[in-house]
């Protein structure tokens, strides 16, 4: 099968836009991505639209009602925090399968403030604070302390992830925040669920991102190969059975399965990656994924953050966009926003935060429930 390429990709600056509708937010990113490759909605043969909070609301069709109702097939996608990556992957598959040769993928979300998870069922009484906690900060705190249990990872090492990602975001105008947060500020911020303080939790924001995906032939025909990004691997997994997964969502196994499959598909290894955008929904999660993605040996994740290997300028910079922790985490948009980030580096267009000579990058998202999406991207030869 011929390769498929990202020929246009962009995102809006993440923020809070209560005055806008979800389709309007999605339309903004769609138009930016189309502008990025000089095309219009009339050139698109299908739309894959990812959104979570209005999953039954035909967001993709309403998006086309904003920018052009051309009658193309629309697929609305919902897959927890892997929603955007899943929409992108469905779009990629349609091109790989030679059903279409140029399609649009959009991820969009409008979020409220506050804690996610822990709502519980409607029957009986609330179990929150009675049978432990189901909030996301707690779930990821428990996953982080499992790493502490196994490898001695410290609160300070978890906190350093936030210092790094907030620092990176000061170089990204599209991030929700651009604020330095020194270690003592992160560690002394309001404790939400130990070991995650407020500054170690991702930011709930509104946002959207979009990508135009084309076959190689189409990209050449349109003269778009100069800035094209080759999709070397696209993988989606769900959670395999684990003995504790009834009470402890397992973010590790499905990431490990996905990364192994993605490296095989791409014919590269973690040592070939120039940058990684991974799912730092909480600072504790980023530490786990260093090992899950093979960026270091088992138990070495704490050392990796201590040694600065994952900072801009380090061996394998992670989340130079600022990550979910500072750029923000509009659930359905996140999986395409990280494809925008890696593509921008591979194109050499990332400005102050540019990873020098970036040739290959990896994006990773995970949604509880669970779904993990990984893409490996490379600048077209």
């Amino acid at each position: 099968m011929a390769d498929a390429y990202v020929v246009g990709v962009d995102m809006i600056k993440f923020g809070r836009f209560p005055e806008k509708s979800v389709p309007q937010l999605g339309a903004e990113a769609a138009l930016l991505a189309l502008d990025d490759c000089g095309l219009t909605v009339k050139d698109m043969q299908a739309l894959y639209c990812g959104n979570l909070n209005q999953a039954s609301g035909m967001v993709g069709q309403r998006l086309l009602q904003e920018i052009g109702q051309t009658g193309i097939p629309v697929v609305n996608v919902s897959n927890a925090c892997a929603t955007g990556a899943t929409a992108f992957r469905e779009a990629w598959m349609s091109v790989k399968a030679d059903v279409y040769d140029i399609v649009l993928a959009v991820g969009v979300e409008q979020m409220g403030k506050g804690l996610l998870g822990g709502g519980g069922g409607s029957k009986g009484i609330s179990k929150e604070g009675l049978l432990g906690s189901g909030t996301m900060p707690s779930v990821f705190a428990e996953a982080g302390l499992e790493h502490t249990r196994n490898h001695g990872t410290t609160f300070e090492q978890f906190a350093k992830v936030s210092v790094k990602n907030h620092h990176h975001s000061t170089m990204n105008a599209k991030a929700m925040y651009q604020i330095e947060t020194p270690l003592e500020v992160v560690m002394n911020a309001e404790m939400i669920s130990y070991p995650n303080t407020k500054l170690m939790c991702s930011v709930n924001v509104d946002g959207s991102a979009a990508a135009v995906i084309a076959s190689e032939q189409k990209a050449r025909e349109l003269g778009l190969m100069d800035r094209a990004i080759k999709v070397r691997a696209s993988v989606l997994t769900s959670d395999p059975w684990q003995e504790r997964d009834l009470v402890m969502p397992d973010v590790n196994s499905c990431t490990r399965m996905a990364s192994k499959a993605a490296y095989e598909m791409a014919g590269v290894g973690p040592e070939d990656l120039d940058l990684v955008e991974l799912h730092d929904c909480f600072a504790t999660a980023e530490i786990l994924h260093y090992e899950n993605l093979g960026l270091c040996e088992e138990g070495e994740a704490g050392r990796l953050i201590d040694d600065g290997d994952v900072e801009l300028g380090g061996r394998v910079p992670v989340n130079v966009s600022g990550g979910l922790l500072s750029k923000g985490h509009p659930l359905g948009a996140t999986g395409i926003a990280n494809i925008y980030e890696v593509s921008t580096h591979l194109r050499g267009e990332a400005g102050r935060r540019q990873v020098e000579d970036a040739k290959i990058g990896l994006t990773h998202v995970i949604g509880l429930g669970s779904a993990c999406g990984i893409h490996i991207l490379e600048k077209a030869a």
Binding site: S133, S138, S193, L246
Partner: protein, 137 residues
């Protein structure tokens, strides 16, 4: 409204005249343990392979978090604990009877499952509930 308290989860059993206990389901084919009613095994795919058994009241702390921010009306801080039970099964609940301080909590510490009123919580019909908690053993 029911005469006595109701079980907080379906796998908390309250036999008449007996002590409450937690019930597990174990796959006869592969031994995987589950909580709550089910017929088929999601580990090995075996059909109609489940037998019920009484989960142990003893276990060890596997992981935890200390919850400082929760929803309105929930007392904080508290310890959300994940406990591996002797003989199989992992359950989640509040760890009580110990300070909510990471210095005081150790991985692998033995705990006991105890049953008590669900912190005074009542449902819309005024029913009270029996819940379970962990205490250092």
């Amino acid at each position: 409204m029911s005469d006595g308290p109701l079980p907080v989860v379906s796998y908390l059993k309250m036999p008449e005249g007996g002590e409450p206990y937690l019930e597990g389901h174990r796959c006869d084919v592969c031994g995987a343990v589950f909580l709550g009613e089910r017929r088929h095994c999601s580990k090995c795919g075996a059909r109609d392979s489940m037998s019920t058994f009484q989960l142990s009241n003893r276990g060890t702390l596997y992981s935890y978090s200390i919850v400082h921010r929760s929803f309105p009306g929930i007392d904080v801080p508290y310890i959300s604990a994940i406990v591996d039970l002797e003989g199989g099964g992992t359950i989640k609940g509040n760890l009580i009877g110990i300070e909510a301080d990471p210095e005081k909590i150790s991985f692998g510490m033995p705990v006991e499952v105890v049953f008590d009123d669900a912190l005074g919580r009542k449902d819309a019909d005024g029913n009270s509930y029996l819940s379970y908690f962990f205490k250092p053993a």
